[in-house]
Symmetry: C2
Subunit: 291 residues, 2 copies
């Protein structure tokens, strides 16, 4: 069993991006600039955005954080999106989700110019990715593929079972894994809450991508000997062993599943660190992409 | 074994659409108007477009056919698309594919206002459909779902195996079958040229959608007793038994597969007649849809 070290890979990629930025500086090219819109004071969102801004600094990007209070109007947010769309200095930007209930997230996402949509949530990017055209791929699916690539894991003709059909992980990663590409070219099965005899399906998988958000859902008897297991789950489970009082827990019962795997991602330190790296890669791409 | 009669269903739906149009006329509402752009004199394209125009007449739609010679420039075509985008009289329009090699099909498709893209090929419609938002779904996938619906075929929790990963059938129908909806909620597997042990996969399927374009590919030993088989193939195979010298042949070896099925579509007369009906439904929808 080999542990897929997302932390180490993400650090290596940050270094690559950092070198790319330095090269751009030397060549007199524009320094990538990411903007983030943060609404309110949700603890999780604050942490994520702070982490994104910090990562920008680490690799030499410029970053701009635009904050609003919870009571910001949808109209005001839309105006800010429009301003960023038209600001040539900004290469890409994100609106940290979730947004307060009085604001339509979908409306905000669709207002973003897809050429600056480095989160890859705009329907145009989802559609372009599905068709196999140049596009921004959202962070988690892109991070998963990057891990498979960095570990040279064979995917062509392999049976990849995705558990979960969310718009931000399950569906897009399934789509990517079936494209004519590497990583890709896999036979892909998407399972979800309505799937019958799930264990019979997962036991056939060469690659399992668990993205249902149910702690320790995937157990040893659901996994074939030698399978590759990618754990996307990140649920906070109460714990008396940590200072914070909770423990980040994946969708995989790691201790019993790991010994059966050829490769497995831990939680934390697997897919998680890759998501911010994907965002950085998209921002770098935004300075060069031609749609 | 019950034969899924696409011809009868399509006639029934045309009648429904026709009644809807009459109701619109009585209410003083706009009559749906479909425009079609046809480039050159390809025999297949001529036939398809003629059939589409005729179907419009049958249900009481207005239709406009815009013809160009093979040597039309991309620029001229783009201008025509732009004109149709801005013409309030036209509710929806299609550009019949394939186009001559000197014209980028993708560029033309993306120039179409997605709110008039009744073929559902624009990346925005592909993406919106994937996310589960209001959208135009392309004709063949929509036709397949309509058949499942009209025959009350259970799909929730069923294992649906799609053979083929094309942008116009395999990928979108797989996506629809996994949505939280009816028809949908199925466990979906997408197989293709790189799939290993395909028969082992198809034998597990409750529903098989064969869309690979290889005549009589699916044989009896690949199908489970009681499966639902949807045959999307329409290859012209030479035949000395027909006047034309060819015979429309599906991807399923019908004679040997049919006895094992609970439901099966014939070729011709299965999915085929549904595609034009889907286009008509999209055009009707175009008069009312709110994006």
């Amino acid at each position: 069993m080999e542990l897929i070290d997302g932390k180490a890979i993400s650090e290596a990629i940050k270094k690559e991006i950092s070198e790319e930025v330095q090269k751009r500086v030397q060549e007199g090219k524009k320094i990538p600039h990411l903007a983030a819109i943060l609404v309110g004071h949700d603890g999780g969102s604050e942490t994520y955005v702070a982490h994104k801004v910090k990562s920008c600094e680490q690799v030499g990007f410029k970053s701009t954080l635009i904050r609003f209070e919870d009571n910001v109007s949808e109209e005001e947010l839309l105006q800010t999106v429009e301003k960023l769309n038209n600001d040539d200095e900004i290469d890409g930007f994100i609106v940290q989700l979730p947004l307060p209930k009085h604001i339509s997230e979908q409306k905000i996402i669709e207002a973003i110019d897809y050429r600056k949509d480095v989160d890859g949530f705009h329907p145009i990017n989802v559609g372009r990715s599905s068709i196999g055209l140049t596009s921004f791929v959202s962070a988690t699916p892109a991070g998963i593929l990057e891990l498979l690539k960095r570990y040279n894991i064979e995917t062509s003709g392999k049976h990849c079972v995705v558990i979960g059909r969310s718009n931000i992980v399950g569906k897009p990663v399934a789509n990517l894994m079936m494209q004519k590409a590497y990583p890709g070219d896999a036979t892909v099965t998407v399972c979800h809450s309505r799937t019958k005899n799930l264990a019979d399906v997962t036991r056939q998988a060469d690659i399992i991508i668990a993205a249902l958000g149910q702690p320790e859902f995937l157990t040893a008897e659901m996994v074939k000997e030698g399978a590759v297991v990618i754990d996307v789950g990140t649920t906070r489970v109460p714990s008396d062993k940590t200072k914070s009082g909770w423990k980040l827990t994946g969708d995989v019962k790691f201790d019993e599943v790991a010994p059966k795997c050829s490769y497995i991602t831990p939680v934390p330190g697997g897919v998680g660190p890759m998501t911010i790296v994907s965002l950085l890669k998209n921002t770098l791409l935004a300075t060069e992409i031609e749609f």
